[in-house]
Symmetry: C2
Subunit: 451 residues, 2 copies
């Protein structure tokens, strides 16, 4: 292949070594297992969508990678771009297949997405997302707003157990609580106020206050907004504080109060349900606003303890309709898999146990007897033991070195007089039968080492 | 999400339903298992490469999808394109990491690739490839030319067992055998002659003869080339025929004969080794030329019995160097996963056993007792039984219908007085304990149904 010109690592396009990939693969298989247990079926969608569908969200448009054929005939291709999330393609998938799908439709989707944003720690141009959504036809009962974060809470807890992902803390809010309150204190541009509050962690209370006042929000109302955003409890006690604040701020209006109360009740049920299943993970946090306009009920964000600088690793919320025409309410959350895996690797929290899958390196005495070594390998593989056969009939010392370099724990020496297998870590060598010998369970498969 | 404008299925970009995806997922996990058992570690590479690296192969250039940022600042991005195979990115990966990798390096890689070619049955614009390669530093022993097709032969046999992929027939040749023979009968433009013979199945012997003669090949030499290409045996008996043809065609020259003999010996070992492991799969077929210039030893193609119209589903060969500078000889093969899965589905050879992963649909008596239904679901999930809880407390008849629509075999009726579970296929209903009840093994997981 003479076509190679130069090599150029591309910023924002992470690639793992074979042992690092073990960590990512374990994360993905853990997610699949948990999602499947909860009744979520898998789909994959094509990587490309028509640009006009992708570009509808103006914030994302500048990050879209558009496609063109390198030597296209004029007008040969539709105007296509790479998807930047899994929601836009999922919406199109549901719209196309609405007649075939059974609703409520639970699906998970784990695929790479592409965003042409400036690369930085935790931000990539190509990365894995893992999404779950439940989408209903016409009516989505409220209990799904607890189910989706509960599934994600379990998934994150399993990731902690499996690969040492730091403990997750999920912050939850309800759009109705916030919108009812804002209306009650006299704010008219509620989406504008939400966008300002969404910047709280970046620009601080003073920054938010300035933005609100610049937008014409009264000083007392701005204070009330900030007081609401300061409420954060690990249980349902936020409700008492929020109700007290409603009184104290002089909020009023029958409809706003109804909306506010509906939000308080929903968030109470949400936090209690999730914490009952995964104790301590869920917080009511009335500062959570989520910039996206389409959320209408519960909203969620998740940080990893001690790694708050990564930002949210698992976010989402309830929306009124997945598709443009309406009628498909749903709840969804998305894990930033690559963001999590990248931190696991860079912080030394997890690594692959060895560079290759083989548990056994079968030595070759001489090229004439390679078939005997192959036969040993076949016998081991038939019982699920991964192995490789030595590349050359070098001196045994050199063959052991080759195994050691790959992190393979056992070297097998075939012999018609009686096979032997050596644990090259301890040096212990024993006679063994290829039809029955087994490595310790901990050595059988290449996996993830914590810490 | 109001950004949706229209829906447009895109020709050449296949998408599966959730139950069709089960078939694809089973194919992928079978391949992973076989590759892993043989010591092949997994990597994934980024989807994009610099255009100048991709476009080196002029035939592929017109099929490349180039990327641009939709609203890029001028000069913001390097000129990037989507990979059209997994070999170009793998070569770059090895070149970048040659200091860290242990050679011979066995890797597998399963990713989507993109080609802007005209879509037709079995040809896609986005599709999964599954590649294995062994790459050495400087010297690659000949036995790897048997190992790689052997791993693929096992993988294909496992796919037959797991999901009903039709029996595979692997045709093998050796470039040295052909090149030595061509040189022996006086052909000077050997790559040109190989390209003509590669079209044999498309343009027939007369077409090949015309092309060869137009290129200045003598009529007797063209006949000899066609006679060689007609040799096909399910064992090593091709060798006798090829040696006889060497004599009969009056081939000559010491170096060509040496090359020819080396190829005959290598192909003999290859066919015998692979057939010893997976009886009947390998044929010596001296018409196999493979268009790509970089193969230098064994070449392989694979068709599925009764589905020869699909073309080769698993091809590859031995090359002298993976990277431009030389020094990285290897052997690789690639399975066209989407081509195989698409045929399995369209020919009705395999389908998903149900539309959702759940084995159990937990009914809800009334909304007040939803927590009790959730508790049943949690008890089942803790023992690995996938389930979902009813969306609403509708009449039991309606809840059973919902389960039936999804293909869920069991409906659970929670009760403080004694739970009951109904097999909705037989109608049989029994008392059951959520801590111990298990579905039959065949119902536990959604899987693949043959035929």
């Amino acid at each position: 292949m003479a076509r190679m010109a130069r090599i150029a690592p591309l910023s924002g396009f992470p690639e793992w070594s074979p042992s690092e990939r073990l960590v990512e693969a374990e994360v993905l298989s853990t997610l699949r297992r948990v999602f499947t247990l909860h009744g979520y079926g898998e789909i994959e969608t094509r990587a490309v969508e028509p640009i006009d569908r992708l570009a509808g969200d103006s914030d994302a448009a500048k990050e879209i990678y558009a496609l063109s054929r390198l030597r296209a005939e004029p007008g040969a291709d539709a105007s296509l771009g790479l998807h930047f999330d899994l929601t836009v393609p999922f919406a199109r998938y549901v719209e196309e297949r609405q007649a075939q799908l059974a609703f409520p439709f639970r699906r998970y989707q784990i695929q790479k997405v592409w965003r042409g944003e400036r690369p930085q720690e935790g931000r990539f141009r190509e990365f894995y997302q893992a999404d779950i959504d439940v989408v209903a036809r016409d009516v989505l009962p409220a209990h799904f707003e607890a189910e989706v974060p509960l599934v994600m809470a379990r998934a994150l807890a399993e990731l902690t157990a499996a690969v040492g992902v730091p403990r997750a803390v999920m912050s939850m809010n309800d759009r109705r609580l916030v919108e009812g309150f804002y209306a009650g204190v006299g704010i008219t541009d509620i989406p504008g106020a939400l966008r300002s509050v969404d910047k709280l962690s970046k620009i601080g209370p003073d920054g938010v206050r300035k933005e609100l006042e610049a937008a014409g929000v009264a000083a007392t109302a701005a204070e009330a907004v900030l007081a609401l955003a300061a409420i954060r409890t690990p249980d349902a006690s936020f409700a008492t504080q929020a109700q007290a604040l409603w009184q104290q701020a002089g909020a009023q209006g029958e409809l706003p109060h109804e909306t506010f109360n509906a939000g308080v009740a929903a968030l109470t049920a949400l936090v209690e349900t999730v914490n009952a299943a995964v104790p301590g993970i869920a917080y009511a946090d009335l500062s959570i606003a989520r910039g996206l306009d389409y959320y209408t009920g519960a909203v969620y964000e998740t940080v990893l303890e001690g790694h708050e600088d990564l930002g949210s690793v698992c976010s989402g919320g309830r929306y009124d309709s997945l598709v443009g025409g309406g009628g498909f309410p749903g709840v969804g959350m998305s894990i930033g898999v690559t963001r999590v895996v990248s931190r696991l690797l860079s912080a030394g929290l997890a690594s692959g146990s060895r560079a290759v899958p083989s548990a056994v390196y079968v030595a070759v005495i001489d090229e004439e007897s390679r078939a005997a070594s192959n036969a040993v390998a076949e016998a081991l593989r038939a019982r699920g033991i991964a192995c490789e056969v030595a590349a050359t009939a070098a001196k045994f010392g050199k063959q052991i070195q080759s195994a050691d370099k790959r992190g393979i724990p056992f070297v097998w020496f075939p012999s018609a007089d009686g096979h032997e297998v050596k644990d090259i870590r301890s040096g212990e060598q024993v006679t063994a039968d290829p039809q029955s010998w087994e490595p310790p369970a901990s050595d059988l498969k290449a996996g993830v080492v914590r810490g």
